[in-house]
Protein backbone atom coordinates (compact mmCIF):
# COMPACT_ATOMS: atom_id res chain seq x y z
CA UNK A 1 0.00 0.00 0.00
CA UNK A 2 2.88 2.31 0.90
CA UNK A 3 4.66 1.42 -2.36
CA UNK A 4 1.58 2.42 -4.36
CA UNK A 5 1.43 5.71 -2.46
CA UNK A 6 5.09 6.44 -3.24
CA UNK A 7 4.66 5.57 -6.94
CA UNK A 8 1.59 7.81 -7.17
CA UNK A 9 3.38 10.68 -5.36
CA UNK A 10 6.42 10.42 -7.68
CA UNK A 11 4.16 10.21 -10.75
CA UNK A 12 2.21 13.30 -9.66
CA UNK A 13 5.47 15.19 -8.97
CA UNK A 14 6.81 14.20 -12.42
CA UNK A 15 3.57 15.27 -14.07
CA UNK A 16 3.64 18.64 -12.30
CA UNK A 17 7.36 19.03 -13.04
CA UNK A 18 6.84 18.52 -16.77
CA UNK A 19 3.65 20.55 -17.15
CA UNK A 20 3.05 23.16 -14.44
CA UNK A 21 6.60 23.92 -13.21
CA UNK A 22 7.64 25.78 -16.36
CA UNK A 23 4.65 28.11 -16.06
CA UNK A 24 5.01 28.68 -12.29
CA UNK A 25 8.77 29.30 -12.17
CA UNK A 26 10.42 31.61 -14.68
CA UNK A 27 14.02 32.52 -15.46
CA UNK A 28 17.00 30.64 -14.15
CA UNK A 29 15.36 29.51 -10.88
CA UNK A 30 14.27 25.87 -11.14
CA UNK A 31 12.53 23.48 -8.78
CA UNK A 32 12.85 19.70 -8.58
CA UNK A 33 9.45 18.54 -7.32
CA UNK A 34 10.51 14.88 -7.58
CA UNK A 35 13.39 15.51 -5.20
CA UNK A 36 10.97 17.18 -2.77
CA UNK A 37 8.80 14.03 -2.83
CA UNK A 38 11.83 11.76 -2.26
CA UNK A 39 12.98 13.78 0.77
CA UNK A 40 9.41 13.90 2.11
CA UNK A 41 9.04 10.11 1.76
CA UNK A 42 12.44 9.57 3.39
CA UNK A 43 11.61 11.81 6.37
CA UNK A 44 8.19 10.27 6.94
CA UNK A 45 8.81 6.60 6.06
CA UNK A 46 12.42 5.78 6.96
CA UNK A 47 15.65 4.95 5.08
CA UNK A 48 14.50 1.80 3.24
CA UNK A 49 11.43 3.43 1.71
CA UNK A 50 13.38 6.66 1.18
CA UNK A 51 16.16 5.00 -0.81
CA UNK A 52 13.76 2.87 -2.87
CA UNK A 53 11.61 5.89 -3.71
CA UNK A 54 14.80 7.81 -4.59
CA UNK A 55 15.96 4.99 -6.85
CA UNK A 56 12.62 4.72 -8.61
CA UNK A 57 12.15 8.48 -9.04
CA UNK A 58 15.74 9.10 -10.12
CA UNK A 59 15.76 6.30 -12.69
CA UNK A 60 12.48 7.50 -14.22
CA UNK A 61 13.82 11.07 -14.41
CA UNK A 62 17.05 9.84 -16.00
CA UNK A 63 15.14 7.81 -18.57
CA UNK A 64 13.12 10.89 -19.52
CA UNK A 65 16.03 13.31 -19.66
CA UNK A 66 18.50 12.07 -22.31
CA UNK A 67 21.00 11.63 -19.50
CA UNK A 68 23.09 8.69 -18.32
CA UNK A 69 20.55 6.41 -16.66
CA UNK A 70 21.62 5.87 -13.06
CA UNK A 71 23.33 9.16 -12.21
CA UNK A 72 20.16 10.92 -11.08
CA UNK A 73 19.00 7.61 -9.57
CA UNK A 74 22.18 7.27 -7.53
CA UNK A 75 21.97 10.89 -6.32
CA UNK A 76 18.33 10.53 -5.30
CA UNK A 77 18.96 7.11 -3.70
CA UNK A 78 21.59 8.67 -1.44
CA UNK A 79 19.37 11.65 -0.64
CA UNK A 80 16.34 9.43 0.12
CA UNK A 81 18.44 7.14 2.33
CA UNK A 82 20.00 9.98 4.34
CA UNK A 83 16.65 11.78 4.67
CA UNK A 84 15.24 8.53 6.06
CA UNK A 85 18.07 8.23 8.60
CA UNK A 86 17.56 11.87 9.67
CA UNK A 87 13.81 11.27 9.95
CA UNK A 88 14.27 8.29 12.28
CA UNK A 89 17.15 9.64 14.39
CA UNK A 90 16.09 13.27 14.86
CA UNK A 91 12.87 15.13 15.57
CA UNK A 92 12.14 17.05 12.39
CA UNK A 93 8.70 18.50 13.07
CA UNK A 94 9.31 22.27 13.11
CA UNK A 95 9.49 24.31 9.93
CA UNK A 96 13.11 25.44 10.33
CA UNK A 97 14.65 21.93 10.67
CA UNK A 98 12.53 20.77 7.73
CA UNK A 99 13.73 23.75 5.67
CA UNK A 100 17.35 22.88 6.53
CA UNK A 101 16.84 19.22 5.58
CA UNK A 102 15.25 20.06 2.20
CA UNK A 103 17.92 22.70 1.51
CA UNK A 104 20.75 20.35 2.46
CA UNK A 105 19.25 17.48 0.49
CA UNK A 106 19.08 19.62 -2.67
CA UNK A 107 22.70 20.73 -2.24
CA UNK A 108 23.82 17.11 -1.66
CA UNK A 109 21.85 15.97 -4.71
CA UNK A 110 23.49 18.67 -6.84
CA UNK A 111 26.98 17.80 -5.57
CA UNK A 112 26.54 14.07 -6.31
CA UNK A 113 24.76 14.64 -9.65
CA UNK A 114 27.19 17.23 -10.99
CA UNK A 115 30.18 15.51 -9.38
CA UNK A 116 29.47 12.25 -11.19
CA UNK A 117 29.04 14.02 -14.54
CA UNK A 118 32.31 15.93 -14.08
CA UNK A 119 34.08 12.79 -12.82
CA UNK A 120 33.00 10.85 -15.89
CA UNK A 121 33.90 13.84 -18.11
CA UNK A 122 30.41 13.90 -19.62
CA UNK A 123 29.34 17.49 -18.85
CA UNK A 124 30.76 20.69 -17.39
CA UNK A 125 28.74 22.97 -15.15
CA UNK A 126 30.66 26.27 -15.00
CA UNK A 127 29.81 28.11 -11.76
CA UNK A 128 26.54 26.55 -10.56
CA UNK A 129 26.54 27.94 -6.97
CA UNK A 130 23.82 30.56 -7.54
CA UNK A 131 21.61 28.13 -9.49
CA UNK A 132 21.97 25.40 -6.84
CA UNK A 133 21.29 27.87 -4.01
CA UNK A 134 18.18 29.12 -5.82
CA UNK A 135 16.93 25.61 -6.45
CA UNK A 136 17.65 24.55 -2.85
CA UNK A 137 15.69 27.52 -1.48
CA UNK A 138 12.76 26.91 -3.82
CA UNK A 139 12.71 23.16 -3.00
CA UNK A 140 12.93 23.88 0.74
CA UNK A 141 10.01 26.31 0.65
CA UNK A 142 7.88 23.86 -1.36
CA UNK A 143 8.88 21.00 0.97
CA UNK A 144 7.94 22.90 4.14
CA UNK A 145 4.64 24.03 2.63
CA UNK A 146 3.90 20.45 1.52
CA UNK A 147 4.45 19.20 5.08
CA UNK A 148 2.11 21.90 6.44
CA UNK A 149 -0.58 21.04 3.90
CA UNK A 150 -0.39 17.29 4.53
CA UNK A 151 -0.59 17.85 8.29
CA UNK A 152 -3.78 19.85 7.80
CA UNK A 153 -5.44 16.69 6.51
CA UNK A 154 -7.69 14.99 9.10
CA UNK A 155 -5.91 12.27 11.10
CA UNK A 156 -2.52 12.92 9.50
CA UNK A 157 -0.66 13.46 12.79
CA UNK A 158 -2.11 10.28 14.33
CA UNK A 159 -1.12 8.18 11.31
CA UNK A 160 2.38 9.68 11.42
CA UNK A 161 2.82 8.94 15.13
CA UNK A 162 1.66 5.36 14.55
CA UNK A 163 4.07 4.98 11.63
CA UNK A 164 6.97 6.36 13.68
CA UNK A 165 6.30 3.98 16.61
CA UNK A 166 6.19 1.05 14.13
CA UNK A 167 9.59 2.14 12.71
CA UNK A 168 11.11 2.30 16.22
CA UNK A 169 9.88 -1.23 17.01
Amino acid sequence: MKAIGVIVAVAVALALQTTAARFLVRGSVAVDLVLVVVVYVGLTSGPATGLLSGTFAGLVQDALSSSVIGIGGLAKTLVGFLAGIIGTQFIVTASLPRFVVFFGATVLHAVVFMGLYVLLDLRHFGAPVAAVAGQATANAVIGVVTFQLVELLPGAMERRRAGRSRMRR
Partner: protein, 282 residues
Protein backbone atom coordinates in the same frame (compact mmCIF):
# COMPACT_ATOMS: atom_id res chain seq x y z
CA UNK B 1 26.42 3.91 16.20
CA UNK B 2 22.97 2.97 15.08
CA UNK B 3 23.04 5.97 12.75
CA UNK B 4 24.89 4.25 9.94
CA UNK B 5 24.83 0.62 11.05
CA UNK B 6 25.62 -1.27 7.86
CA UNK B 7 24.22 -4.48 9.34
CA UNK B 8 20.74 -3.06 9.25
CA UNK B 9 18.50 -4.21 6.43
CA UNK B 10 18.26 -0.75 4.91
CA UNK B 11 22.06 -0.53 4.87
CA UNK B 12 22.34 -3.70 2.76
CA UNK B 13 19.54 -2.50 0.56
CA UNK B 14 21.30 0.84 0.06
CA UNK B 15 24.54 -0.88 -0.91
CA UNK B 16 22.78 -3.23 -3.33
CA UNK B 17 20.84 -0.43 -5.03
CA UNK B 18 23.92 1.82 -5.23
CA UNK B 19 26.03 -0.98 -6.72
CA UNK B 20 23.31 -1.77 -9.24
CA UNK B 21 23.16 1.82 -10.40
CA UNK B 22 26.95 2.14 -10.63
CA UNK B 23 26.96 -0.93 -12.91
CA UNK B 24 24.15 0.64 -14.92
CA UNK B 25 26.09 3.89 -15.35
CA UNK B 26 29.27 1.99 -16.29
CA UNK B 27 27.46 0.06 -18.99
CA UNK B 28 26.18 3.26 -20.62
CA UNK B 29 29.30 5.36 -20.38
CA UNK B 30 31.31 2.72 -22.25
CA UNK B 31 28.66 2.49 -24.97
CA UNK B 32 29.03 4.63 -28.08
CA UNK B 33 25.60 3.85 -29.54
CA UNK B 34 22.80 6.39 -30.01
CA UNK B 35 19.70 6.72 -27.85
CA UNK B 36 19.35 3.89 -25.30
CA UNK B 37 16.34 1.67 -25.92
CA UNK B 38 15.07 2.12 -22.35
CA UNK B 39 15.10 5.91 -22.81
CA UNK B 40 13.22 5.75 -26.08
CA UNK B 41 10.54 3.39 -24.72
CA UNK B 42 10.09 5.29 -21.44
CA UNK B 43 9.92 8.60 -23.28
CA UNK B 44 7.34 7.25 -25.74
CA UNK B 45 5.06 6.08 -22.93
CA UNK B 46 5.48 9.15 -20.76
CA UNK B 47 4.94 11.60 -23.63
CA UNK B 48 1.42 10.19 -24.01
CA UNK B 49 0.77 10.96 -20.33
CA UNK B 50 2.23 14.45 -20.88
CA UNK B 51 -0.07 14.94 -23.87
CA UNK B 52 -3.15 14.16 -21.76
CA UNK B 53 -2.02 16.27 -18.82
CA UNK B 54 -1.04 19.15 -21.07
CA UNK B 55 -4.52 19.09 -22.59
CA UNK B 56 -6.12 19.24 -19.14
CA UNK B 57 -3.73 21.93 -17.95
CA UNK B 58 -4.32 24.04 -21.10
CA UNK B 59 -8.07 23.67 -20.60
CA UNK B 60 -7.86 25.00 -17.06
CA UNK B 61 -5.62 27.87 -18.20
CA UNK B 62 -7.96 28.75 -21.07
CA UNK B 63 -10.95 28.69 -18.70
CA UNK B 64 -9.15 31.02 -16.32
CA UNK B 65 -7.94 33.49 -18.96
CA UNK B 66 -11.33 33.37 -20.66
CA UNK B 67 -13.04 34.38 -17.43
CA UNK B 68 -10.65 37.27 -16.82
CA UNK B 69 -11.03 38.41 -20.44
CA UNK B 70 -14.83 38.44 -20.18
CA UNK B 71 -14.72 40.85 -17.24
CA UNK B 72 -12.81 43.44 -19.27
CA UNK B 73 -14.30 42.59 -22.65
CA UNK B 74 -15.81 46.00 -23.48
CA UNK B 75 -12.69 48.00 -22.66
CA UNK B 76 -10.51 45.48 -24.42
CA UNK B 77 -12.78 45.49 -27.49
CA UNK B 78 -12.46 49.24 -27.86
CA UNK B 79 -8.71 49.10 -27.40
CA UNK B 80 -8.49 46.33 -30.02
CA UNK B 81 -10.55 48.36 -32.50
CA UNK B 82 -8.13 51.27 -32.10
CA UNK B 83 -5.17 48.88 -32.48
CA UNK B 84 -6.76 47.34 -35.59
CA UNK B 85 -7.20 50.73 -37.21
CA UNK B 86 -3.58 51.62 -36.47
CA UNK B 87 -2.43 48.23 -37.74
CA UNK B 88 -4.35 48.63 -41.01
CA UNK B 89 -2.56 51.91 -41.65
CA UNK B 90 0.78 50.24 -40.79
CA UNK B 91 -0.01 47.33 -43.14
CA UNK B 92 -0.64 49.78 -45.98
CA UNK B 93 2.71 51.42 -45.29
CA UNK B 94 4.50 48.06 -45.11
CA UNK B 95 2.84 46.91 -48.34
CA UNK B 96 4.06 50.00 -50.15
CA UNK B 97 7.53 49.46 -48.70
CA UNK B 98 7.51 45.77 -49.71
CA UNK B 99 6.49 46.66 -53.29
CA UNK B 100 9.37 49.09 -53.49
CA UNK B 101 11.80 46.53 -52.03
CA UNK B 102 10.67 43.85 -54.48
CA UNK B 103 11.28 46.27 -57.32
CA UNK B 104 14.78 46.99 -56.04
CA UNK B 105 15.48 43.27 -55.66
CA UNK B 106 14.48 42.65 -59.25
CA UNK B 107 16.70 45.51 -60.30
CA UNK B 108 19.69 44.10 -58.44
CA UNK B 109 18.86 40.53 -59.54
CA UNK B 110 18.95 39.31 -55.94
CA UNK B 111 17.96 35.77 -55.28
CA UNK B 112 15.11 35.34 -52.82
CA UNK B 113 15.53 33.17 -49.77
CA UNK B 114 14.67 29.53 -50.19
CA UNK B 115 11.32 28.70 -48.62
CA UNK B 116 11.69 26.28 -45.74
CA UNK B 117 9.34 23.35 -45.37
CA UNK B 118 8.15 23.34 -41.76
CA UNK B 119 5.59 21.64 -39.54
CA UNK B 120 3.90 23.42 -36.62
CA UNK B 121 4.04 21.71 -33.23
CA UNK B 122 2.52 22.36 -29.83
CA UNK B 123 4.58 22.04 -26.67
CA UNK B 124 3.05 19.38 -24.44
CA UNK B 125 5.67 19.05 -21.73
CA UNK B 126 8.92 20.26 -20.22
CA UNK B 127 12.01 18.49 -18.90
CA UNK B 128 11.58 15.89 -16.16
CA UNK B 129 14.54 17.38 -14.27
CA UNK B 130 15.70 21.00 -14.09
CA UNK B 131 19.28 19.93 -14.91
CA UNK B 132 18.34 19.42 -18.56
CA UNK B 133 16.64 22.05 -20.73
CA UNK B 134 14.30 20.11 -23.01
CA UNK B 135 10.70 20.33 -24.22
CA UNK B 136 8.29 17.74 -25.56
CA UNK B 137 6.32 18.56 -28.73
CA UNK B 138 3.25 16.85 -30.15
CA UNK B 139 4.80 15.91 -33.51
CA UNK B 140 6.71 12.67 -34.10
CA UNK B 141 8.13 10.46 -36.81
CA UNK B 142 4.71 9.93 -38.39
CA UNK B 143 4.64 13.71 -39.08
CA UNK B 144 8.01 13.50 -40.82
CA UNK B 145 10.24 14.82 -38.05
CA UNK B 146 13.53 13.12 -37.18
CA UNK B 147 16.65 13.58 -35.09
CA UNK B 148 18.78 16.72 -35.52
CA UNK B 149 16.06 18.74 -37.24
CA UNK B 150 16.06 22.35 -36.09
CA UNK B 151 13.18 23.87 -34.16
CA UNK B 152 12.38 27.56 -34.53
CA UNK B 153 9.90 30.12 -33.24
CA UNK B 154 8.87 33.49 -34.72
CA UNK B 155 11.44 35.21 -32.47
CA UNK B 156 14.35 32.94 -33.45
CA UNK B 157 16.10 29.63 -32.88
CA UNK B 158 14.64 27.31 -30.21
CA UNK B 159 16.77 24.16 -30.40
CA UNK B 160 17.13 20.80 -32.11
CA UNK B 161 15.15 17.59 -32.10
CA UNK B 162 16.92 14.83 -30.13
CA UNK B 163 14.51 11.97 -29.40
CA UNK B 164 11.61 11.45 -31.83
CA UNK B 165 8.90 8.91 -31.06
CA UNK B 166 5.86 8.05 -33.18
CA UNK B 167 3.57 10.88 -32.03
CA UNK B 168 5.89 13.19 -30.07
CA UNK B 169 9.49 14.30 -29.85
CA UNK B 170 11.97 15.72 -27.39
CA UNK B 171 13.60 19.06 -28.24
CA UNK B 172 16.94 20.07 -26.74
CA UNK B 173 16.78 23.82 -26.15
CA UNK B 174 19.70 25.99 -27.22
CA UNK B 175 20.17 27.01 -23.56
CA UNK B 176 20.88 23.39 -22.50
CA UNK B 177 24.46 22.81 -21.33
CA UNK B 178 25.04 20.27 -24.11
CA UNK B 179 23.61 22.45 -26.91
CA UNK B 180 25.64 24.40 -29.47
CA UNK B 181 25.13 26.15 -32.81
CA UNK B 182 27.38 27.71 -35.43
CA UNK B 183 26.88 31.48 -35.21
CA UNK B 184 27.88 34.72 -36.84
CA UNK B 185 27.66 38.33 -35.64
CA UNK B 186 25.48 40.04 -38.23
CA UNK B 187 27.26 43.42 -38.24
CA UNK B 188 30.91 42.33 -38.31
CA UNK B 189 30.52 38.78 -39.76
CA UNK B 190 32.63 37.42 -36.89
CA UNK B 191 32.11 33.66 -36.65
CA UNK B 192 31.95 31.55 -33.50
CA UNK B 193 30.03 28.86 -31.67
CA UNK B 194 27.05 29.66 -29.44
CA UNK B 195 26.70 27.26 -26.49
CA UNK B 196 24.11 26.94 -23.74
CA UNK B 197 24.99 27.36 -20.10
CA UNK B 198 22.02 25.66 -18.44
CA UNK B 199 20.57 29.03 -17.35
CA UNK B 200 18.70 31.63 -19.43
CA UNK B 201 21.78 33.01 -21.21
CA UNK B 202 24.05 31.80 -24.03
CA UNK B 203 27.80 32.13 -24.55
CA UNK B 204 29.51 32.79 -27.86
CA UNK B 205 32.92 31.14 -27.99
CA UNK B 206 35.91 31.15 -30.33
CA UNK B 207 35.43 34.77 -31.45
CA UNK B 208 38.83 36.32 -32.03
CA UNK B 209 39.92 39.35 -30.00
CA UNK B 210 40.54 41.26 -33.26
CA UNK B 211 36.83 41.51 -34.07
CA UNK B 212 34.83 44.59 -33.05
CA UNK B 213 31.82 43.28 -31.08
CA UNK B 214 29.58 45.63 -29.11
CA UNK B 215 26.59 45.21 -26.80
CA UNK B 216 23.39 44.96 -28.85
CA UNK B 217 24.97 43.26 -31.89
CA UNK B 218 22.60 40.70 -33.39
CA UNK B 219 23.89 37.10 -33.54
CA UNK B 220 22.45 34.78 -36.20
CA UNK B 221 23.02 31.17 -37.23
CA UNK B 222 25.89 30.57 -39.66
CA UNK B 223 24.50 27.30 -41.04
CA UNK B 224 27.83 25.48 -40.88
CA UNK B 225 26.69 23.04 -38.18
CA UNK B 226 24.37 21.22 -40.58
CA UNK B 227 21.42 21.56 -38.20
CA UNK B 228 20.23 25.15 -38.11
CA UNK B 229 19.36 27.04 -41.32
CA UNK B 230 21.55 30.06 -42.03
CA UNK B 231 20.52 33.56 -40.97
CA UNK B 232 18.05 32.85 -38.18
CA UNK B 233 18.27 35.06 -35.09
CA UNK B 234 19.85 33.52 -31.99
CA UNK B 235 19.89 36.64 -29.80
CA UNK B 236 21.65 39.89 -28.99
CA UNK B 237 25.05 40.46 -27.41
CA UNK B 238 24.55 41.36 -23.75
CA UNK B 239 28.15 41.69 -22.62
CA UNK B 240 31.63 41.48 -24.12
CA UNK B 241 34.74 40.91 -22.02
CA UNK B 242 38.38 40.37 -22.75
CA UNK B 243 39.03 36.75 -21.82
CA UNK B 244 42.78 37.24 -21.62
CA UNK B 245 43.60 34.72 -24.36
CA UNK B 246 43.00 34.89 -28.08
CA UNK B 247 39.22 34.93 -27.76
CA UNK B 248 36.54 37.26 -26.39
CA UNK B 249 34.08 36.24 -23.66
CA UNK B 250 30.63 37.07 -25.06
CA UNK B 251 27.27 36.63 -23.33
CA UNK B 252 24.11 36.53 -25.45
CA UNK B 253 20.51 37.13 -24.43
CA UNK B 254 18.41 34.65 -26.47
CA UNK B 255 15.79 36.16 -28.79
CA UNK B 256 13.33 33.46 -27.73
CA UNK B 257 11.72 33.53 -24.28
CA UNK B 258 12.01 29.81 -23.53
CA UNK B 259 9.79 29.99 -20.42
CA UNK B 260 6.71 31.14 -22.33
CA UNK B 261 6.95 29.07 -25.54
CA UNK B 262 3.72 27.36 -26.55
CA UNK B 263 4.05 26.64 -30.27
CA UNK B 264 7.11 26.06 -32.45
CA UNK B 265 8.02 25.14 -36.03
CA UNK B 266 10.12 22.08 -36.93
CA UNK B 267 12.21 22.70 -40.06
CA UNK B 268 11.86 19.67 -42.31
CA UNK B 269 14.07 20.99 -45.11
CA UNK B 270 17.65 19.77 -44.60
CA UNK B 271 20.38 22.43 -44.53
CA UNK B 272 22.84 22.48 -47.48
CA UNK B 273 25.61 21.18 -45.17
CA UNK B 274 23.43 18.26 -44.09
CA UNK B 275 22.38 17.48 -47.66
CA UNK B 276 26.03 17.39 -48.68
CA UNK B 277 26.91 15.10 -45.74
CA UNK B 278 24.01 12.76 -46.56
CA UNK B 279 24.92 12.57 -50.25
CA UNK B 280 28.52 11.69 -49.31
CA UNK B 281 27.35 8.93 -46.92
CA UNK B 282 25.06 7.51 -49.60
Amino acid sequence: MALLDIRQRSGYLFLAVTLGQILLISAQVNSKSGVPVIESVTFGIFSEVQRGLSGGFSGVRQLWTGYIALRNLKVENEALKRDLAASQVAVQEQRALADRTRGLERLLDLRGHLKLNTVAAEIIGAAATPDFRTLTIDKGTRDGVRSDMSVIAPAGIVGRLVVPSLRSAKVQLLIDRNAAAGAIVERTRAQGVVVGGGDDRLRMEYVSEVFDIVVGDVVVTSGIDGIYPKGFIIGKVESVERAGGAYKRITIKPAVDFSSLEDVLVVLTPTPAREAAESVSE
